[in-house]
Structures are given as structure tokens and as C-alpha cells.
Symmetry: D3
Subunit: 240 residues, 6 copies
């Protein structure tokens, strides 16, 4: 397929990643995350209410919303005014589960809702993994603000979470696929991990080709190395 | 947690599974699949049209719809009239991808759409894995009917696909979780495989607890043994 | 038109009718009703709440929902996600009124809601009359369960209700039309009656041909004889 | 109940009825119908198109829409922006069937759609029967206009259609119920007839009380006398 | 363009305007306003509730809804069942702001909601200006009724509000455009004023042609003279 | 009210304005516009299709969409999934009209659609005026790209368009209101002008207080001086 990757990356290399904090004045916490040409604006808002089913639990809740700006894609994507797309809901459910995995919802200071909005400004593959990685930074900052204003005693995030994609393209395993790679991938896998090297989510799809256990093991190992880099960048961003 | 499983099953045992074909007179193919108390009615319909984006490709398409009857759950579930739920769309996308993985869409006899409707009559955990397993039988029968009426030359399904769940409950790995087990599971994984022992989809979620590589390996091995049983039941059902 | 009816029935004969109870583990009461090839799954659920307008009345309420599985018809019927069809709402209003006519809503044990879901598995004409007939059985069983658990003192159903269609096809009056007959009928009438031989609903439509009083009288007489058979089958089903 | 009816009408008397034609400049045909304090604006529009399923039939189609102005009721009725009500759809289906019963859709001059909009300005019981009665006048005038402009050879309406309600209130049969009577009625029946004294639709509901055959016969006879008055008023209105 | 206006009006003349009160029995206040062939039925309803955001303010609120009957236009306009049109919402927001400008919402007798429904029966240009002018009369009458029933101490309307359009058509400034003029206008302006000669809203659009300050001044002057006539007609209507 | 404005601006001073081009790789043209703390991302996309009503005209069309990111406001704003808000539609209609006023739609190279998406990243008053001002830059760049790729002969924009708000706050006229000023304004006016000093749109609202002609003249004069500054910044941005 490609003798080399479009951007001359090594197969096991992630794209240049930046995590820019505090980019939205009105959000409690925010982070503009870039995985190469994929740019996602993550904004965490905290409100003193919870969904109906969570009432009288004494616990908080963390949820996420995901959307793409129409011009984020090379062919304009219509807004989801006439019914949410399954893909968008699937991604926002994934982001929410990932954050809740590292959050002590009993430590949010009561029945409090954090919503992390992930709006894709520019899409070039990996929008869900960039969203999770940036959402953690936005959530961390929002909870710090919350803690500093006396609303909770400690930051309810007890760990980090980050995500990366890995796939097989033309028979070769590649880390952190961009759009052109992703659209040709035989296997596409998204992996979410914490800082202890444990899995939080694994979503592997072989729509073009099924895959054996050995390939799976290679993909997970490759993903783990990428996620370790992302976790370090997160720590640097929030000065942990 | 449980000294024994509610139904006295071994940890690595699947529930009693039945695949009853030809249960809906008006569907091209149909299968009532039961995984214990989880009952799903799968109906495959073939229409001579494809979605707009597929036109002029010469290829067919396979899609799925998933819904729960309101009284399929112990607390009545409202119908999705006011907007589809993300969960339902996520499941129907999974069913569709699984079937397409074993279907030669160039052999469907032109621009032809197969829709497999999976309607849950009774829910007791594992509705998505039962749906995939039953959907394959309904699709197989519908394509046989299609082939016999001269619409295509051979059955476009070139392989089988089946699915099972595996999870960790109270620190113990269990196969094919029922609802009570599923609602307490620390880790929940759905695995879709073909008859060559290859993975088509892996969706593992550690919402309650992250998990390491060794646990993942055990879960996948347990899933594979369950799926082999399901594939044999499918072959018996369609007399392959 | 037909020298004989498709299935060799006499003009005044109903199709083979079965009423199978207890078919859904999670419903409070359920009944799979078959009028020949028309199969409807009726499930009665009781919840301890009433619609807003009924609050503080001390009375219960009985309502119904009606839907067709997509593959219940020979040409696949799309699900009603983008707006309810008038026909479906008209039918569910009819089912609800019929049940309320024989229900003492002051004896339901307070502000309690019964919803009877009628999901058509297979449609071959007469889905609304089969729904009413089966819904009564499901409701009866659900109320028995309610009574046995001490929630109400007696079964609030003080009578039976059943329904049948009658129509004119090719100038001949026929009872309990199947789909092929129904689609050619000049006159189509649905009759709902109680066990005292009284009318609860009469809905007669002469879209193809208006009709005189004599014809109406014949149709009502024919309907009554069919309904008497259905009422006997209901009593047998619930062992009254 | 009432010693006399609120407006001193005899039990078998209809309310004062007026049919005012040509009230909407932009409609092809229009009629403001008043049954006492029930006022409905009926407007017939003809467009040179038919619904998709009717294409290539060479035939026309007649349909209706029904809505209530929010202030037509004593308690303001919200507009149906968030989903059509079953009641409204049920009524507009009834109006459409009634008109089609007296219309030769092969004589409309090709694939032509008539839509009759029935908008209730003021509701005081009997809005559906007033709508049908007025809709016929609007449709007649629109078809006359169509004929005069050479679009069809003769008026496709080959007969008249009108409708009235009859009900039992406090044990007494009353014709043409107003809102106060209707809301207390034990039995409520709407009857649609043509000028030959034949029935087109009978919709009788005994939500409060079932009824026997003798009562039904009395109601139908009372309805027929009312409809004869309405048919005469229609003829006078269009100068037939 | 036109040597004379279609209806021989002078350029600075408004159409014949009538304001007919009390036309809807069930509305608290109502007014059928006619600006030539533009007819709008305005109905004011008062309910003892306010929108959620207004609760616990002790203040009332005034809002409006605007819709066109399908047959009000020469080409039938579909009802807004599948999503509100931006134009309708823009107009109803304008009507609401205009009325609130002359209403003391602290004098409505508590947390009380007035809704003014403006339903266009016949559209011939200027439906929004007719709506505002008629809505004031309906609101005035509804508040009088409210005051007389002791719900508030004085009529909360402390002034009048009326509106007119002015536009440039073929280079000529014209007052109160009808539909044919409006559809050819290079500039279209709607002006809302009170009885002190002050502006409440100015909405000028030069979609076909931008305009200079001198033209603007002429248009506003022309509008003011028209509005003075309307204000006098309002006073006559309500006998102020 | 304020002795000085929050940010020490003079009453007639606009906020610091920047127009950053080319910020979205996948859009045909884009501009991140900042009016102080109000940030709007404007993206122009060109597609070779037009709306249905524009077909066979040989002309192009220009439209706009406007939305706010949920976290753009200090209190999170829900996404418009359950029905568009009137305010959003009103603003996007205004943006579209403004651009069309300076665009020769016959010079777009055929039946071609430009959509300018204006997504508010951060809202601090004046989002609609910033959107118009930035949308012109995005549209200009997209048309330049279109022209350079040979799709049209010249840039169809034959002039510039920019917009500013002006209002009365505490009796003082202020230019380019920020959110705190806007929320207290007695009068709020948005003015859209071209580079010839002509008005394209004037939308003045005196919800808190009506205003006389002298005030209007002052506001328009103040707006014009602000718009001249914006037009100069646009020219600098696109190097005209």
C-alpha cells in the first residue's frame, strides 16, 4: 500500500499531539486537542443537577456530547437537527464511560452533573480517541476549579484515561490512523487505557477482514505504547 | 458473590440455546432465537433497492434494525417514538457489520437490500449476542429463498458469524451472562467470531473495573469456546 | 368473486382462533392471540402512576399501544420512528376504549396505569379485532396477578370484551376477513361487543360502496355470532 | 339530566346550520360551516400532483387535513408541532374517506390531488360532522372551478355526503350534541350518509355504556333525519 | 413599474383596515383584522401559569404564536408539523416583543401568561403588521375581561402598538404593500410604533438593493403616517 | 450606569477585532472572527447543487447556518436537537440575506450552493454581527478558491458587507455592546452596511424602551463609523 505513511511517520508513531488548556472563557474547563490534523474542542461544564434517575443518590454523574462542525470534513456534514446519528451517540457514550471509569462520583460534592462537550473542528481520523484524551484534560481542569471554589474536597478524578486507534492497512499494523489510512483499514481498533496499563475499553472491528489472536495481541501492544505517550502529555499539560 | 450461578450453570457454560426457523410467514427468512430467557425474533427481508449512497455500485447492502418490545423488560420500556436511543442504534450497527463481514455483497444479485429486524420479545441479558446469532440464520434462509427464486446464483453468505458475552462478576469470569449477572458485572465483553476462529468484533468495557491483559486473554478464550457451540447449533439449524 | 373462501371457510365462520397465555416472562399478563395467520402478542403491564391529567382522581387508567413488526407484512413496513401513523393511533385508541368499557377503574387499587401493548407479529387481516380479543386476556391475567399480590381487592374487569370484522366482498357478506378479502372489500366493519350481547364499538366504512340498513343489520347479526365464539374461547383460556 | 336542552332544542333537532361559500380568496373552493357555535373553515385546494404511491395510476386522489386553532376551545389547545395527535389524524382520515366515497377519482382530469383543510375556528361539539358537511361544499365549489377552467369534463362528485352526531345523554337520545352534552354522553355516534339514505360511515362508541340493537336502530333513524336536513342545506348552498 | 397601484391606492395610502372584535366565543379576547385582502384572526388567551424561567418572579409574561392556514396562500402552504419554519418563529417573536413593550407585566395580577395566537386566514402581504395591529386589540379586550373578573386591578396595557410595512417598488416608495408589490420590492421595511410616535421595532431589509439615509428617512416618515391611522382605528375599535 | 465601559472603551469604540483566515483545512474558505471575547468560526463550503426550488434557474444560491457551541455561554446552552430555536433561524436568515446582497448569484459558475456555517465558540454579545463580518471573509476566500480552480470567472462577491450593534444602556448610546451591556440595553440595534455607506439591514428593537427619530439617527451614525472600521479590517485580511 504505502511504502511510507503519508506523513512519513513510523508505523508505531503517533501524530504530533498538543493539548491546549483554557481556550474557552465560559467553560469551567476546556482543552483544544490536536492529533495531527484532527482538532477537537473539549469543554467541561459543571451544573448543580443530575438526571432524573440519579436523583436522591447523593452521587454526581459524568456525561459527554459529541458533534462534528459541518465543515470539519472535506465533504460538508449536515447538522443532526433531524435526529441524532447512531455514530455520534455511540461515540459520546464511549467518552462518558471512559471518564466515569476514573472518576469517584461520590466525591463530586453532591448531585452534580459534569458534561464534556467534544466538538470536532477538523476531522482527519481518530476523532473519538482525541476526544477522550482531551476530555480528560478539560474535566481535570473543571474539577480543579470546582475544588478551588470549595464545591468538593478533592479532584474526583483518581486516575488518567487516554485513547488511541490502531489498525491494519494493506496488511501492515499502524498506530493512530489518519483519515486516509482509516478509510482503507481492514481492521480498526480503538483502545482506552488508564495509567496503570489497564484496559478500560477495547473496540475492535474487522469489517473488511477478521483477525486472529496474534494480530490482536500486536495491536494491543502497539496501542499501549501510544497511550503511554498520551498520558505523559496529559500530565505535562495539567502540571501533575 | 454467587456460590453457584442462578441457574446452576458452570462458569464456562452457555445457556440453553434454540434457533427456530421459519416462524414468520411474511418474512423472506426468520428465526426465533432463545438464549435461555432472552428471546429475539429475527426477520430478514430482501428488497430490490439500495440506500442512495450505494446506488450505481452494482452491489447489495445488508443492514439491521434492533428494538425491544415494551414488555420485554421487567420494568416496561417506552417505545422509541421520540428519538432513537443511542444503545439501540449502537446494537443495530454492530449486527449489520457482523453480517456484512461474512457476506459477499457482489453476489446478492445486484442492488439489493437485506434488512434484518431483530425484535426482542423477552430480555434477560445478551440480547445483542442472541440477535447476531439468530440474524445469521434468518439471513441464511432469506438468501436461500432468494437463490431458489433465481435472484442470485449462490448464497452470498460465505461463512458463519455468531456472538457471545463474557464478563467478570464478583471477580469470577462467567460466560453468557444473564440479566442479573450482567447488571452486577465489573467487566462486560461482547465477542463476535466467524467459523475460522477469527475475531470480527471485540467490545470490552470495564465501566466498573479496568482489566489487564491476562484477564482479557481468559475472556477471549472463554468466548471462543461458547461461540464454537453456537456455530454448531447454527449449522444444525440450517442443515449445513 | 370467490366461489369459496380461500381457506374453504363458510361465509359466517371465523378463522381458527387460539389464545395462548403467559408467553412473556416479564409482562404482568400476556397473550399470544392468533386469528388464522394473524398473530398478535398482547402484553399487559401495570405501573403505579397515572397520566398527569388523571392525578388526584383516586382512579386508575387503562391504555393501549399498537405497532406492527416490520416483517409482519409481506412488503416490509418501516418502523414509526419519524412520526406515528394515524392508523396505529386510531387502533390503539380503539383498544383502550374497549377495555375501559369493561373495567372498573375505581377498583384498580388506586392511581395505577395498565398499558396493554399489542405488537403484531404477523398480519393477515383483522389485527385490530385480534388485538382487542387478546388484550382482554392479557389484561385479565395481569389484574389477577395484581389482585393476588394484594394490590386490589377484586379483578377490576367486570365483564368481557371481544371483537370481530365483517365485510362485503364481491356482494357477499363474510365474517372475519383475512387480508386478501379485506383488501377487496366494498364494506368493512369492526364490531366490539360485551358478553351481554351489547355493542361497545361499531366502526363501519363503506369506502368502496355505501350500504343500506338491511345490510347493516345482517352484518351486525353475523358479527354477534362470531363474537360469541370468541367470548367462549376467552372464558376457556382464563378458566372462568 | 337536562329537563330541556341547553338551547331549548328538541331532542331530534339539529342546531342552526349555515354554509357560507367563497370565504377564502386564495382557496379553489371554501366554505365556513357553522353548526351552532361550532365553526369550521373548510378550504379545498387542487394541485397537479398525487402522492407517490398513486403515481402512474391515471387517477386523482382526495385527502383532508384537520386542525383546531388553539383558541377554538375554552381551555387553549396547544398546536401539534411536537407530533400529530391521534384524534386529529383519525378525524382527517374520516373526512377523506367520506369525500372519496362520492367522488369519481377517474374524472378529476388526471393525477390531481384535492386537499380539503378543515380548520376549527370555534369548537362546541360535532367538529368532525361539521367538517364533513362543509368539506363537501368546499370540494364541490373547487371542482366546479376546475371544470370551468377546462381541467376536467364534469364535476367528479357524483353525490352528496353529510354527517351528524347522535348520542345518549342521561338516558335520552339527542341529535347533534353540543360540547356540554357530548362530554356527558354515555354513547356517542357519528354517522355519515349520502343522499340515497345509505350509510358511508358509522362510528358508534359506548365508552360510558354499551348499547343494544334497539338503541342503535333509534340512533341511526334519528341521525338519518338530521342528515336529510343537512343535505338539503348543501343543495341550497351550491344551488343544485 | 405600475403607473398606478393595483388597487388605485395613492403611494402613501394604507389599504382599507377593519378590526372586528369578539369573533371567537372561547377566546378571552379576539380580533379579526383585515388589511385589504390580508385577514388575520388574533386570539388572546390568559392562563394562570408562566414559563419555567419566569417562575417565582411575581411577574406575568406575554407571548405570541403565528401560523398560516394552508389555504391562506394562492399556492397551498404545508402545515409546520415537521419542524417550525424560521419565518414563523421570527414573526411570532416580533409580535411578542411589540406587545410586551406596551405592557406592564407586573400589573397582570401575578404569574399569568397571555398567549396571542395570530392565524392568517388569507395572506396578501403584510401579515405580520396586520397581526401586531390586531393582536393589540385582542390583548386589550382579554385584559379588560381579566380586569372585570377581578384578576388584575387595571388593564396592564399602558399604551398602544401598531405596525405597517413600507417598501420601494420599481424605485417608488409605497406604504402597506400587498403581496404583488411585496414580491417585487427592492427594499422592504416593517415599522412598529407606539402612540407617542416612538419606534418599537424597525426591520428594514434591502435584499434586492441597499439604501441610503435619505431613503430611510422617507420610509420612516411614510410609515409613521400609516401607523397613526391604525392607532386611531384601534382606539375606535375598543372605544377608548 | 457605568462611569466607564467595563473594558474602558470609549462609547463609540468597537472592541479589538481580528479576522484570521484559513483556519479550517477542510472548508473551502474559513475565518475565525473575534470581536473582543466573542469568537465565531465561519466556514464557507461550496457544493455543486442547489435547493429544489432553485433548480433549472442557472443561478447559484448562498445560505448560512448559525449555532452556538454548548459551552460558548456562561450557563451551558443545550444543543438544538429537539427543534431549532427561533433565534438561531432568525440569525442565519439574516446572515444569508446580507451575503446575497453583495453576491452576483449568476456569476457563481452555475447551480452552485455556498453554505456559510457560523459556529459560536465563545459568546460575549454581538455574535450575529461578528458572524456577518467573518462570514464575508470566509465567503470571499471560498469564492477565490472556486475561481482559481476554474469553476467561475470572477469572484461573485461584488462588494463587502459588515455589521455592528449599537444600543442604549442606562441612557447612553454605546457601540458594539458586549454581553453585560447587551443584557441591560434599553434599545438594541443591529446594522448591516456595504462599503458605499448604504444600509442592507436595520433591525432595531426597543424592548425596554421605545425611541424617537433623533436617537435613531444617532445610532445609525455611530453604527456607520464602526462598520467603516470593520470594512477596512476585512480588506486588510483578504489583501484587497
Amino acid at each position: 500500500m504505502f511504502a511510507t505513511r503519508v506523513d512519513n511517520r513510523a508505523d508505531r508513531a503517533i501524530r504530533p499531539v498538543t493539548l491546549e488548556r483554557g481556550v474557552m472563557k465560559n467553560a469551567t474547563g476546556s482543552c483544544l486537542v490536536k492529533f495531527g490534523d484532527t482538532h477537537v474542542l473539549c469543554a467541561a461544564t459543571i451544573e448543580e443537577r443530575v438526571p432524573g434517575w440519579r436523583k436522591n443518590s447523593g452521587l454526581g454523574w459524568v456525561t459527554a456530547e459529541y458533534a462534528m462542525l459541518p465543515a470539519s470534513t472535506s465533504k460538508r456534514t449536515p447538522r443532526e437537527y433531524k435526529g441524532r446519528k447512531g455514530r455520534s451517540q455511540e461515540i459520546e457514550r464511549l467518552i462518558g464511560r471512559s471518564l466515569r471509569n476514573v472518576c469517584d462520583m461520590g466525591a463530586m460534592g453532591g448531585e452534580v452533573l459534569m458534561t464534556v462537550d467534544c466538538d470536532v473542528l477538523q476531522a482527519d481520523g481518530g476523532t473519538r480517541t482525541a476526544s477522550i484524551t482531551g476530555a480528560w484534560v478539560a474535566a481535570y481542569d473543571a474539577f480543579e476549579m470546582w475544588r478551588k471554589s470549595g464545591k468538593c474536597k478533592r479532584n474526583p478524578l483518581f486516575g488518567q484515561v487516554a485513547a488511541i486507534s490502531v489498525g491494519m492497512v494493506g496488511g501492515r499494523l499502524l498506530l493512530d490512523l489518519d483519515y486516509r489510512e482509516d478509510s482503507k483499514a481492514e481492521i480498526d481498533m480503538n483502545v482506552v487505557m488508564n495509567a496503570k496499563g489497564e484496559f478500560i475499553e477495547i473496540q475492535g472491528t474487522g469489517e473488511q477482514a477478521p483477525f486472529g489472536k496474534a494480530t490482536l495481541d500486536d495491536m494491543l501492544s502497539m496501542a499501549q505504547s501510544g497511550i503511554e505517550e498520551l498520558l505523559a502529555l496529559q500530565r505535562a499539560a495539567v502540571q501533575l
